[in-house]
């Protein structure tokens, strides 16, 4: 098991209860999508998974978890692409040469070529920034990858490219957890689908069964029609 969560509760210092007793197991090498409306506790869960927050109650058994946050600009710290990707491994105690190797390997896996290594990450296009940020997380050597709204603001092409990379990583053994308010990601890519609402898991299923969760009116009515006719 890559991840075992038992009876997880989390309450913020302000008193707001974000998670109300979550039980979840995620298998190694699986692709899970966690969906739910804003405020359902998705981001809180992500932070708990990676260790930025400690549970108020309950336990999380997870090793080697990396996280890619929503806004790439908040995750780029250095003045060149290669140094930025080396940031993680250096913090984890790798030597400069080792960190450089890790960085190059990570950048290759997301499709960033050598031509970009010495460029300023802030001057890249939005899609490229995300890939560099992703490489930065991969370089830390995590075996489980959590991505918070990885497709927000991306156009169709860029979105497909990112998910292609994720599927590739999965085939190499990485456990992928995507947090997304767009249930189509679940239908297209996931082995497992979790719907979070008000801090509780409402649905924990194999992806294709929850098509009516296209919550917006775009397809909700149609899906229910197809099911009833």
């Amino acid at each position: 098991m890559a991840l075992v969560i038992k009876n997880l509760h989390y309450t913020y210092k302000t008193g707001k209860k974000a998670l109300n007793g979550i039980n979840l197991t995620i298998e190694e090498g699986s692709f899970t999508v966690i969906s739910g409306p804003n405020g359902s506790g998705k981001t809180t869960l992500a932070k708990l998974l990676v260790g930025l927050l400690k549970p108020t109650e309950g336990s999380i058994d997870a090793k080697n978890v990396g996280i890619l946050f929503q806004v790439p600009e908040n995750q780029l710290f250095e003045t060149t692409v290669i140094e930025d990707v080396m940031f993680g491994p250096i913090n984890f105690g790798r030597t400069k040469e080792q960190a450089r190797e890790d960085a190059i390997k990570a950048l290759k896996s997301v499709g960033i070529t050598e031509a970009f290594y010495n460029r300023d990450p802030f001057r890249l296009s939005d899609g490229q920034k995300r890939l560099v940020a992703l490489a930065g997380v991969l370089a830390t050597g995590c075996t489980t990858l959590v991505l918070d709204e990885v497709a927000a603001g991306l156009d169709w092409n860029a979105e497909q490219r990112v998910f292609g990379i994720l599927k590739n990583l999965q085939s190499q053994g990485m456990t992928i957890i995507v947090i997304s308010h767009n249930p189509e990601h679940a239908v297209q890519y996931a082995d497992k689908y979790i719907y979070l609402k008000d801090g509780l898991i409402e649905e924990n299923a194999v992806a294709h069964t929850r098509i009516e969760d296209f919550a917006s009116r775009f397809t909700g009515q149609i899906a229910s029609l197809i099911q009833t006719s």
Binding site: L52, G66, F69, E73, N74, Q75, F87, N91
Partner: protein
Amino acid sequence: MLRRLHPLTKLLLFILLAVLVFFEKNPSSLILTLAFLVFCAAKGEIPPSKLIRNYRWMIFALVIGIIASTMVPAARLCLLLIMSSVLNISTTPTEIAYAVGMIVPSRDFTMMVSISLSFIPVLAEEASRISDAQKARGAKRTRAAVATVVPLFASAFRRASDLADAMTVRAYGTTARPSRLNTPRFTKTDLGAVLFTLCYAAAVIFVEVF
């Protein structure tokens, strides 16, 4: 009641009190100032819990004061902090910016003050998200603090650029004399507040000199 005062009144009185505090040496005058501020807080309908947050500073400052044998400056610092809290809680940022604009008659300057105040929560939250991202990549606390500067600056410049576009589109700078939605007015309450404060100031001066 404190909220209904004209922001300029509050700002000028605040400056007066801040200057006065720096001349207070006698414990009696320090206590007098504390009593005055507690009275102001009560009049400003400020719940004690908000001020209690400042007691942390007070204890901290007092401890430093005792260690450094400089209790009086420590006490002055506390009073100054409480004073700022009272001003901040009873006056909206727009009002503060308006009052500043009356002293410094430059609209651009007033805009700068107002926008800076608006952006404090935004940049603070961004800084916390940036440091989360760094901690997630293994950075220890001190390294995280320093490395936050680069992305935060980059973000601030980007925001400034977007905001400049937004302001242009909303006709900023087209009239020399822009008007206002809510114009604060001077009332009798302002007069009363000024007189009361002057009495207090006189009392402090009396205690100090004699």
